[in-house]
Symmetry: C4
């Protein structure tokens, strides 16, 4: 069997849609199980789906690691993929990748980037909030002294946390629940940072507009100037040598 970047690329092409479907199956089964606190036969079915999709993800990773040529290099360059295998939550974020290939018509690079950040950021934020709410609900439900007992309260808690408001009407009490909560808080800081950065980029760009003469000279302008100079230089040298010829 051939190995190397080409083989990996081909494998990724073949598994693109199956993996997306496996991700969706995982998301649905995990949500169902967590939200309804499914018991009995249904729980067995859902756990089976979750387990099978997990096997798919592990197999995919192992195959890619096997196909890669300098395996050490590939491994070091794909630590994120290892994290995604270990924490299936992260995989759902992959579903958002399609957004990054969206086109936004003929707009400035800044506008396209900001639109992309806004759409991807909003999607990722909602998905992270939803998944953290599920994960926390999963570990808190039934724990002694816990106050997050149903999905409605869990999603409300997640929004209150990610916005760094923190009323304190709900909060995790188990160690695992708190670890997820810390991850969600980090996500909240990242969201605030990204919103601010995007608005900043817009304000700074706009603040510079409308006073064209005072804006930084563009590369295009200097290139135009350089071309004009080259032409003049060429003209003068040609005229000179022409003169020289006349003189003979």
């Amino acid at each position: 069997m051939p190995r190397g970047p080409e083989a990996v690329r081909k494998w990724e092409e073949i598994t693109y849609w199956p993996l997306i479907i496996a991700s969706l199956l995982w998301l649905i089964a995990y949500s169902w199980k967590s939200i309804t606190d499914a018991q009995g036969e249904l729980a067995v079915v859902l756990w089976t789906i979750i387990g099978l999709t997990y096997v798919v993800f592990v197999v995919d990773y192992v195959v890619r690691l096997f196909l890669a040529k300098p395996r050490g290099v590939w491994f070091r360059g794909h630590l994120l993929d290892l994290a995604i295998v270990a924490i299936p939550m992260l995989r759902a974020l992959r579903l958002l990748r399609a957004i990054t290939s969206m086109t936004f018509g003929r707009h400035s690079a800044g506008t396209v980037l900001r639109s992309r950040i806004a759409i991807y950021g909003a999607g990722a934020s909602l998905l992270v909030i939803y998944l953290c709410a599920l994960a926390v609900l999963d570990v808190e439900r039934g724990a002694p002294g816990a106050n997050i007992e149903n999905f409605g309260d869990a999603i409300w808690w997640a929004f209150v946390t990610v916005a760094t408001v923190g009323y304190g009407d709900y909060y995790p009490v188990t160690a695992l629940g708190r670890i997820w909560a810390v991850g969600l808080m980090a996500g909240g800081i990242a969201i605030v940072g990204t919103v601010t950065a995007t608005v900043s980029s817009y304000v700074i760009e706009k603040a510079a507009a409308g006073r064209d003469d005072d804006e930084p000279a563009t590369r295009g302008q200097v290139r135009g100037l350089a071309q004009e100079m080259t032409e003049l230089s060429g003209y003068l040298k040609a005229a000179k040598s022409g003169e020289g010829t006349d003189a003979k």
Copy 2:
């Protein structure tokens, strides 16, 4: 009846003031009803005003949709208008539009933009806080286990939430109240982001001032240089051809 962009523009010109008055009427009636928890005949009057202004907004939207020439294009380009019809809260924000046409004398583009953002932002923030307080009060008052029971507590809760402080002395307990609260939190993040972006733009602009020689070359400068070069080029070519004439 003629249709097309021209007809829409004319309709918007005619309905400009009536719609502002309808917005104000809606705002007053809704505030009155929510703050006083009006009952009996007064409630009937207030609900009638709210209902009538709502009809006005729907009619305005339908007429504009009817007048637009490629209706699909207009519809896709005016999804915000549809949202404003559905959630009358948003319409009140239209009242702030007048601010954007304010003039700020002879200042740099950055200063004008920042002043506009500051004034519009402050106005929009206060209006959003006020309207969310009303909406939450409306749905929470009388709900079992609710702690937001009068307007004073509602507006205090709204400020505590929008600043992402979240003491937890007041918080919504109904599903609808929590949805409004999440909207308010998003508004809070937007406010923090906008304040930061505006201050950033100012600091970055100021940090570059006072060291003119080290600042980016301006387009005006390069244009001046290009003109000088064109003149020299023209002069040399004219001199050359003059020489050529002399030589004959």
Copy 3:
């Protein structure tokens, strides 16, 4: 008595130190009264000092308004001074003005600006937190249901609020206390915004360093280029006219 900008300037020169001393007296008396909840004779003395310094501030404002030549213009341009007279808290911020005239040796404009923002910002933040803690303690102490009852708790509450943490162990319950709290939250957002803006300015400046050839061309560079071109142009024209003279 002469009136006009010159007279106002002279008055401000004369009253500079007396007003600073009055501000300090006010700050000490108000702090003493609020922190110790002074009663009896001491309270009379402290209230007298607070009252007298207040009279001084009002007289100063009235005299300046009287001395200004186009009074309407001066009034509109000094609304902040009116606010400072009305809310003596703001006057204490004037004490920080001396900082803005500090020098920072030979550093880049950005570094000086950022140092100034950091020092002034830290000073203003601490003063605002201190004054809001005093004001809230003043109105909350003794109110029914209040939980901010001594200065230690008040200053702790103020820090928790300004950092937008909001544990909810202490919070104001009176209308006036809540208004001060909202002001403090606004201050907190401003602090976060200013810290972020200052760090941003630093990061953006540093991110551009160390790759001189890729940095924006400076005005100094283009000026140098323009001068070289002017010289060449002058040389060529002089040579030409010299040639013309030779030819005669």
Copy 4:
């Protein structure tokens, strides 16, 4: 014994590893004591290690102060070192200094800077959170009315505080605990500011990419132009003088 900058440098070279080992010993002993609330003989051993490392730090500072030539200048320029001696917590941050010498291959200056900020920032944040949790646990444990009684709750409280969420399930009640908490909140604001600044720098850089002609002209470009002009100028002058020679 020789004194001056050279002697100080030599001393710092010699003490580099011993000081790092002392810092680590201090960190381990302090953590052990605080987390386990060690009593009896173990406590004596741990306190001895803490005390000895402290002596090492004081001796190091005194020796450096002694070796420095203009002692006043060195003292004013090393106030941070004095703070580090007084608050051993800060010393642990020195352990992170090694990060700043990490290399990041061939990337743009902005990318290297942002990677460094991200790694150092994450390390410093985790260390500050850990140390503040220890310090607060140390002073709160056993205090009347305290609710932070074990390390798990202390570290959870520290994360909730630094993210400015502040549920209010745990909070310090002693004066010293609150002072540490205020420091942690300041750290939280600094983290939010740094995250935002780093994202901003990235967004602003990317927003400018992909439209090369519209980007600010670079210094390299203008240097190229200036060189071309100098060549032309030299050529013309040489040609002129050549002409002059011909004419003779």
